[in-house]
């Protein structure tokens, strides 16, 4: 099943009653190793409150290397209307980004919040 629930939002269902929104994908370099893809999913099950899931997938020439989940507060950095993006990578491999509300953050390569 696939439907559009509003401007800019795409819902699709993999299993009956479970909805996955993929509203936001951004890519940034991962040093010399490849790229880091930030995906922001919203998982809904039936009438439950949508559960945001922000992941970084590290990819290289050979494919997917690893995935980590961002430990950002979904109440603050929810997938909508507040998608986040990773803009810079620091020398230690951590990332600096911002959400749509202008909040800055730094997250480690393991997805943990630095500040």
């Amino acid at each position: 099943m696939r439907n559009f629930s509003g401007p800019g939002t795409c819902n699709f269902s993999i299993e009956p009653g479970i909805y996955y929104n993929v509203p936001w994908l951004t890519a940034i370099t991962n040093g010399d190793s490849g790229a880091a893809i930030l995906s922001q999913l919203d998982i809904s099950t039936g009438g439950q409150t949508p559960q945001p899931l922000n992941q970084i997938s590290y990819v290289s020439q050979d494919g997917l290397d690893s995935q980590v989940t961002l430990a950002i507060d979904p109440a603050v950095n929810n997938w909508w209307p507040n998608p986040v993006s990773l803009s810079l990578q620091r020398e230690d491999g951590s990332y600096i980004g911002a959400d749509k509300e202008g909040n800055l953050f730094a997250i480690g390569a393991d997805g943990g919040v630095v500040w």
Binding site: T9, C10, L25, T29, G31, S87, L88, G102
Partner: protein, 305 residues
């Protein structure tokens, strides 16, 4: 808030300037509006913030909306006139790695360019020791021959562009303003940055392997140099010759402080002009200048260890 540059100290420079909302930005590939439909058609200038490695704001200034060039110069896009103008803004001390610039590079074309690949740890430690030792030496004014054989002759001939003149203290301040040492063999920085034509710096250094071309420095307010890995040639950083390495820092630092290939104001006069011949006459460049300059500074200018 938009992050612009990761800085060498682990912090960042960010701006609150709102970019103009281009028609193609209204709906991103997966449907999320990238900026509001009612957004402005021109950038709304905000504030530039510098944050430290812990995210604390350490300074702020009005954002003039300047565009940064690959040479670290800032330009006013001047949207109301068909020309641009240079702005006297300090160059950002951008950090190492391909992710140091928002959208990957100064021109923001989403091509991620590692402008300054970090040196390997051996070369890094040797270069850091050399710059620290030389800076301390000059700050203590403990190199009188640096003044009499290098700085004073350059001042006398005015073959540098800096009005403040050059002496040990000035040069120590230049070295103390920070530096960026990079591995040229992996750098995707345009070779034009070091005045070496087209292609990348890595391409250029590959083409010059074995040709006494082991270090290049960019003209600017802080030292920004590319060194081949230590020990790979006789004319790059050496593993067991600290004074040679200090001489190399002084040599390259002179390029960075005021000379492009040593020929900024007087064509055909390079740093080799300083080296006297066997009769004491200066102004002769006898070939093989790069290694001759470093060796001369090592053997005839810097004090013995």
């Amino acid at each position: 808030m938009t992050p612009l540059y990761a800085t060498a100290d682990g912090g960042a420079i960010v701006t609150s300037t709102q970019p103009p909302c281009q028609p193609t930005w209204v709906v991103a590939p997966f449907g999320t509006p990238a900026c509001p439909l009612s957004s402005q058609s021109q950038a709304q200038l905000g504030t530039l913030y510098t944050v430290d490695q812990n995210g604390n704001v350490t300074s702020q200034t009005p954002d003039p909306g300047a565009i940064l060039s690959w040479s670290d110069q800032s330009y006013d896009p001047a949207p109301s006139v068909p020309t641009i103008s240079a702005l006297a803004l300090p160059a950002p001390d951008w950090g190492y790695g391909a992710g140091a610039f928002g959208f990957g590079s100064p021109d923001k074309v989403s091509v991620w360019v590692d402008r300054c690949p970090a040196l390997d740890i051996v070369t890094f430690n040797l270069a850091e020791k050399a710059v620290t030792d030389l800076s301390n030496l000059l700050a203590a004014r403990a190199c009188p021959l640096c003044d009499s054989k290098v700085f004073a002759p350059l001042n006398a001939q005015k073959i540098h562009p800096r009005p403040e003149g050059l002496d040990q203290t000035v040069f120590a301040s230049y070295l103390g303003a920070g530096h960026r040492f990079c591995d040229p063999t992996m750098s995707k920085e345009p070779a034009a940055t070091i005045g070496a034509g087209s292609g990348t710096i890595a391409d250029y250094f590959a083409s010059k392997a074995g040709a006494d071309e082991d270090a290049r420095t960019v003209l600017g307010t802080r030292m920004w140099s590319y060194f081949r890995p230590a020990g790979t040639t006789d004319t790059t950083i050496r593993l067991d010759a600290p004074r040679h390495n200090e001489a190399m820092i002084l040599h390259e630092g002179l390029h960075g402080w005021g000379f492009i290939d040593g020929r900024l104001l007087y064509p055909n006069i390079g740093l080799c002009w300083l080296i006297p011949d066997e009769n004491g006459a200066v102004g002769l460049c006898l070939g093989g200048e790069t290694v001759r300059i470093t060796n001369w500074i090592d053997q005839e200018v810097l004090p013995a260890p």
